[in-house]
């Protein structure tokens, strides 16, 4: 019986893969485009189940709202604007009803099997026994006396930051460059757009004095909390990205409550680009600092090296504490640089979004003529 339990996730995977194939077939042959979108959403649901079984819950968290919700909504909106029927020979209604019933039954069976295999529980509190992989990370990310654990350790009590910036540092580096490229793209599109030079007037711009006074109290608090989240990334949940996004809220508050002409006093677009580049240089430096030290001293080093490994004494790494304060080697540099880069990236985006439409139209007309 226990062998059957081990097989259950694989059976669920097979069933949901089959069901998603059926849903794709239905989405292709269906003439009614709204129904086709529905079938494609069903297929996405099965894919989410597959992702969950393949132990990538973070992908599921992104995939479900985007593929099932957002994409379907965009498609339905587009279909409403154009035409509802496609000129393709459809399948008969009875066949589609049978297949829909089959898919529903498959879904129910898969859900039942998932509950049976304890992959999904209805308990309020998570189960006390962790998986072997989780146990490994929890035991190795923080400091330990034994040398063979120090070999794998990132010397940070925050396992997520240790995984993101140490064990899988290269992944995160490319994720950061994706966002960097997106902002470069936005800047390239908006390269001639400028916020018009206008004097900020306290009495005629922005919202009422109540909102302005509350925002004056709130903005320094937000920045302080954001810096705290960013710099404590290696100790507590949070990190550079989360801190940067929190700090960007301050910029958006200044734009909406006061005025964009007030916000540009403190955040000019070109200064923001410069600070963002400094942040990215910091990330690149933290990635290569071990190999730079190694080249200077004649030892060995690697990119994204954090701690020195006791098993290979010729390799260099960064100290995990300075004067008794835990800094976890490169993790602090990564978090601080990422904080600056993300904060300034979002500040650039908010400022670009608040360029008035008249000045954009002027630029476009000027290019046409």
């Amino acid at each position: 019986m226990s062998q059957l339990y081990e097989l259950i996730p694989y059976i669920v995977m097979a069933v949901s893969a089959l069901a998603s194939t059926v849903a794709v077939y239905l989405a292709i042959v269906e003439r009614d485009l709204i129904k086709a979108v529905l079938y494609s959403a069903i297929q996405s649901t099965f894919y989410a189940l597959l992702f969950y079984l393949l132990m990538v819950p973070d992908i599921v968290l992104v995939y479900v709202p985007v593929a099932v919700g957002l994409l379907s909504a965009v498609f339905i909106f587009a279909i409403k604007k154009t035409e509802k029927y496609e000129e393709v020979a459809g399948i008969p209604k009875t066949a589609s009803a049978i297949i829909l019933v089959l898919v529903t039954v498959f879904t129910l069976i898969a859900g039942w099997l998932l509950i049976q295999s304890h992959a999904i529980t209805f308990e309020i509190f998570p189960s006390a026994d962790a998986r072997a992989l989780a146990k490994w990370f929890l035991n190795t990310t923080l400091a330990s006396k034994e040398w063979w654990i120090r070999t794998f350790s990132a010397m940070s009590p925050e396992a997520v930051t240790a995984i993101v910036w140490d064990y899988r540092g290269l992944d995160t580096y490319f994720e950061t460059s994706v966002m960097y490229l997106a902002i470069i793209g936005a800047l390239a599109i908006a390269r001639y757009f400028e916020i018009p030079k206008k004097e900020y007037k306290e009495e005629s711009m922005g919202m009422s004095i109540v909102g302005k006074t509350a925002t004056k109290i709130l903005v320094p608090m937000i920045i302080v909390v954001a810096i705290s989240i960013g710099l404590h990334g290696h100790l507590t949940p949070g990190g550079g990205f989360q801190g940067g996004v929190t700090a960007a809220v301050a910029v958006s508050l200044m734009i909406f409550i006061f005025s964009v002409y007030f916000a540009v006093r403190y955040f000019k677009i070109y200064t923001a680009i410069l600070l963002r580049i400094i942040g990215l240089i910091g990330i690149a430096l933290a990635a290569t600092i071990a190999i730079l030290i190694a080249l200077a001293t004649g030892y060995h080093g690697f990119i994204f090296q954090n701690q020195p490994k006791p098993i290979t004494p010729l390799e260099v790494g960064l100290p995990y504490e300075i004067g008794g304060n835990l800094i976890s080697g490169t993790l602090l540099i990564f978090n601080a640089s990422e904080f600056l880069a993300v904060f300034m990236g979002f500040a650039i985006l908010f400022l670009l979004l608040s360029v008035p439409e008249e000045s954009i139209m002027e630029v476009i007309r000027g290019e046409i003529e």
Binding site: S208, G211, A214, I257
Partner: protein, 130 residues
């Protein structure tokens, strides 16, 4: 029957008041006729339903001696959060009401009196100074 016991009772009473205010705000949200009166229900939810029970939870955290020194961190964070909610929830309601009034997005249907409209007609009040 020490200080802890009294504080625990007070904190449970505060949390109970919060639950009651949430229910009242929920009923008001559904039953009130237009946007501006519903905003009143939302403010009850924010101040009565969030500020008061967070104060209660902070007092409750102070009494839990088995938590050690970390109970002071919990209580301090709770008090700061509560004070910020108390300061900022009315600001949010004010800005929402102002935006809805001047953009005419909300219909003021069962209207007893609109003194602001009369003042604007007389020219005593301008939109930017409200």
């Amino acid at each position: 029957m020490g200080l802890n016991f009294i504080l625990t009772i007070i904190s449970y009473i505060l949390i109970g008041i919060g639950a009651f205010c949430q229910v009242v705000a929920g009923i008001g949200m559904n039953r009130f006729p237009n946007f501006f009166v519903r905003l009143h229900a939302a403010t009850i939810c924010a101040v009565g339903g969030s500020f008061v029970p967070i104060i209660g939870c902070s007092i409750l955290a102070l009494t839990l001696e088995e938590f050690g020194p970390s109970r002071f961190f919990l209580a301090g964070a709770g008090f700061v959060t509560a004070i910020f909610i108390l300061l900022l929830a009315p600001v949010g309601s004010h800005l929402l009401a102002k935006a809805a009034y001047f953009s005419k997005a909300a219909v003021l249907h069962p209207k007893a009196a609109d003194l602001l409209e009369e003042d604007i007609k007389k020219g005593e009040v301008r939109e930017s100074t409200v």
